[in-house]
Amino acid sequence: MPSKISWFSKEIILQIGRSTGWISLVYILGLVFALPLRILMIYSDEKNRTNLNVGGNLFRFDFTIQVVLFITVPILLSVFLFRYLHVKQATDLVHSLPLKRNKLYHHYALSGVFFLVLPIVLITVSVLIIYASLHLQTYFGVRDIFYWAGTAILATVCLYTAGIFIAMMTGISAVHAVLTYIFLIFPVGITLLVVYNLKILLYGFPSDYYLRGNLDKMSPLTEVIGLEGKPFDWSNVLVFSILTILLYGLSLIFYKKRNLEAASEPIAFVKLRSIFKYGVTFCTMLLGGAYFSETLYNLGWSIFGYVAGAVMGYFVAEMVLQKTWRVFRHIKGLVIYTVIMILFAIGFQTLGIYENHIPKQDEIKSVLLTDNPSNEVIQDHFYKNYYAPKPIREQDNIKSVLKLHEQILADKQINQKNKSTPYKMAFFVYELKNGQKVIREYQLNQKLYDDFYKPIYESTEYKEKTEGIFRVRDKDVETIAIGNYGPVGKRAIIPEPSEIKTILAMLKKDVLARTYEDGVYFKGGSETVEINLGKNNQLSLELLPTYTNTRGWLKEKGFLERATITENDINYILVHRNNNPNGKTIIDENQPGNLKITDKEHIREALANAGPNPGSYEAIFYFEQGNTQQAFFFDEDHAPDFIRDHFKK
């Protein structure tokens, strides 16, 4: 009977079908709701038929249903298929048969692939039929249908092989499912944990810089969850294919190495058990530390977080391995682990090389200083061209930056403690002459560093490298809009090229003349200049009260009155001493001691000096128009004399 020697065993396939076919059935049902039915439903609603337009991405039809199916069905299937490795009696039966593990593996694994692919194929066919019969060409193309099918197949098969791989590593089905998800999310999770913790341990570690890349690229699971938003391109295809093949092959290798008595053991390979135990301990330690440091900024609590995390992780891992919760006597491993970690932490602290390393002036080619490290991430072409700051190169400026950096290092204790005060980022990227980069990131209270920031921020080079206005070419500008986004909106549009040219020149002059203090004091105001560069791209900058050249010209041309708040818009102003340095208080109009300003000249002076950020005095501006008001502040330096005099009494 030669047929019996053949590779293909009908009865095994039949058995697999009988035991796991239902998963495929549920999968098909779910997908029917998400795609063919949904398409028919939208189509039948003539008014909203344009909802069929999903930008060529069929994942957008009921994505929630789709994504839930895509990330659960493959794992569920792998769990049920390879249950024969996890149930002792089934393992014994199957492996006492005259079948090589090779053959068993391919039968089970490939049947699973079939059960995963079949529903997608059926749905694809049904969508194609609907597509042809309802003439849906206007909404999406046949190409889009095949893009959906191909992506769905590759993505689910990849997740499924990850499930198979973990099936070989464990002997308990529940552990199998949980471990598969942990395995899939692990690259993202461990990166986050390590980077966060280095940030806690190393003063100046640029965590945001390292997290700027696309983290979801690191896990197939997050990639699948993102299918609605971004295209699955050829690089994804390559990565998913390689991963699938790799995991499929590795699984077979581990299957052959596996001892079958591992059924009902949480971790099948003895050597992996310690890796699992200390891996879990390490990860939960990092998690605990990161959690308490991020929420409480207190060294004591951070240490508590690390200790609690490690202890919890250790015992949980031990419980899983021993399959009982009574494991609290097994603390030998934990003690050894703790000693190693303490040594490690001490080594980390005493090294200090990383923290104290600042390049020397003569090594530096250029330096980028910014308070927003995410600038590096934004891929948008326009943003890159106009907003992203560029490094500075002038020796004097580099010297100033180094001075600032040295001071930040000297203030390590202060800056690490004061994380809860309003802080700013200081992000340094040094490019050295030898091609290397030194990147550091600190959180600090910028006020403490005013003296250091001033020479840098006031330098012409820094302004030219960071302010978008210096990158605007006159001929690219279509219009300029001056406007106010306060409670009373005002707006004037200037389309005339010659006037545009003048305004740009004036703005550049004013920006260059702006002092550091004014820049900080007036930052966040509601008067802006929007430079329209066409194609919906616009560069906006604030129109500070100190931009006298621009304002003078605007006033001359009559734009100022149309576009900004003037004394004529204000009914009166109510000023009181601000006792809440972080925010706004509600003014009680009748409270004694408050100053009410009604004189137009005083209102004008107040307008020219009021800043949007909390300061010594709070001023509520009451508008003529409507029953509207807006809060401003004065600090001691900017408050007009008549206000200071009033409160001096």
């Binding site: 009977m1 019996k4 020697i5 065993s9 009908k10 009865e11 095994i12 039949l14 058995q15 009988r18 035991s19 009696q89 089934a90 393992t91 014994d92 039966l93 492996h95 006492s96 048969l97 005259p98 079948l99 090589k100 593990r101 001892n259 079958l260 008595e261 053991e265 003895v270």
Partner: protein, 299 residues
């Protein structure tokens, strides 16, 4: 011939079998006795190619068993709790085995199911424990194995069924020279079918013997004399054990039956009986020092 040489197997550092040596001749029925946890099941799973030994060789006809398909095709293993695929009927299970085992015989399958009056289309898992075991037997015998490995096979079968199953097994051994490897924690249960017995204790085979040889060699004698027991007789015989019950002496004697009987008759006893020994007694008396251990196993 099945051979195990210096086989060692441990589970996560805990030794289950150490240095096991065992030989089973083709066509024999080998009984493996051992207390709970002695390593019987481990030994059987090693022999069936399910487990992999850490050291030593396990061979059938000189070839290693593990992952050897042509060998495993001739071996059938029934575990202590027979397992069937969920929701499978006897018929479906038979079709499965037919697909897997080259020598499957439909003819035999239907004959056996007829003999035992088994319903083919009932889900196996809905049957009683005894019937499930019977199904396992029928499926095993229908795949015509050369070696049948049975782990505690008679548990849960009623005496009638037990007899029937034993008969079928013996018939197969006689007709097809099938080899049976059978384990039990109870010597009494399998002594009537085994021709070889091995005793497994704490992971090692402590005794391995051919039964006929043992039985022919050891006898229980009850004798009584009017006067004292003749000293000469006691010296002449190879006595393993003496016991006095009233005036009756109970002796366990080693030697050929005829000679022993002749020697005793010559002393003209008042009472003389030559009784057969149970296997259990043979082991306990024969094995002297380790007899104590065996006694414990048998309980």
């Amino acid at each position: 011939m099945i051979e195990m040489r210096n086989v060692r197997k441990s589970f996560a550092g805990v030794e289950a079998l150490n240095n096991v040596n065992l030989t089973i001749q083709k066509g024999s029925i080998y009984g493996l006795i051992g207390s709970n946890g002695a390593g019987k099941t481990t030994l059987m799973k090693l022999l069936s190619g399910i487990y992999r030994q850490e050291e030593g060789q396990i061979t059938i006809e000189g070839k290693p068993v593990f992952e050897n398909i042509s060998l495993k095709d001739k071996v059938f293993y029934i575990s202590d709790y027979p397992y069937f695929f969920p929701h499978y009927t006897t018929k479906q299970m038979a079709q499965f085995y037919k697909d897997i085992y080259k020598n499957w015989s439909d003819d035999r399958f239907f004959k056996l199911t007829n003999v035992f009056g088994l319903e083919l289309n009932k889900r196996i898992q809905s049957l009683s424990k005894g019937w499930q075991r019977l199904v396992a037997f029928i499926l095993a015998l229908s795949s015509m194995p050369e070696i049948l490995i049975l782990d505690e096979p008679l548990d849960g079968l009623d005496p009638v069924m037990r007899k029937k199953v034993k008969n079928v097994l013996i018939q197969d051994v006689a007709e097809r020279e099938m080899t049976i490897f059978i384990s039990s924690h109870n010597l009494r249960e399998i002594e009537d079918i085994c021709d070889h017995v091995g005793i497994l204790h704490k992971g090692a085979i402590i005794i391995e013997k051919e039964l006929d040889e043992l039985k022919a060699d050891t006898h229980k004698i009850q004798v009584a004399y009017k006067e004292k027991v003749p000293e000469a007789l006691m010296k002449k015989m190879n006595i393993l054990h003496t016991e006095k019950r009233g005036s009756v002496f109970l002796l366990i004697v080693r030697g050929e039956e005829d000679i022993v009987a002749k020697q005793v008759r010559e002393t003209h006893p008042v009472i003389f009986d030559l009784l057969p020994l149970t296997l259990e007694e043979i082991f306990i008396y024969e094995m002297g020092d380790i007899g104590y251990a065996i006694k414990n196993i048998m309980v």
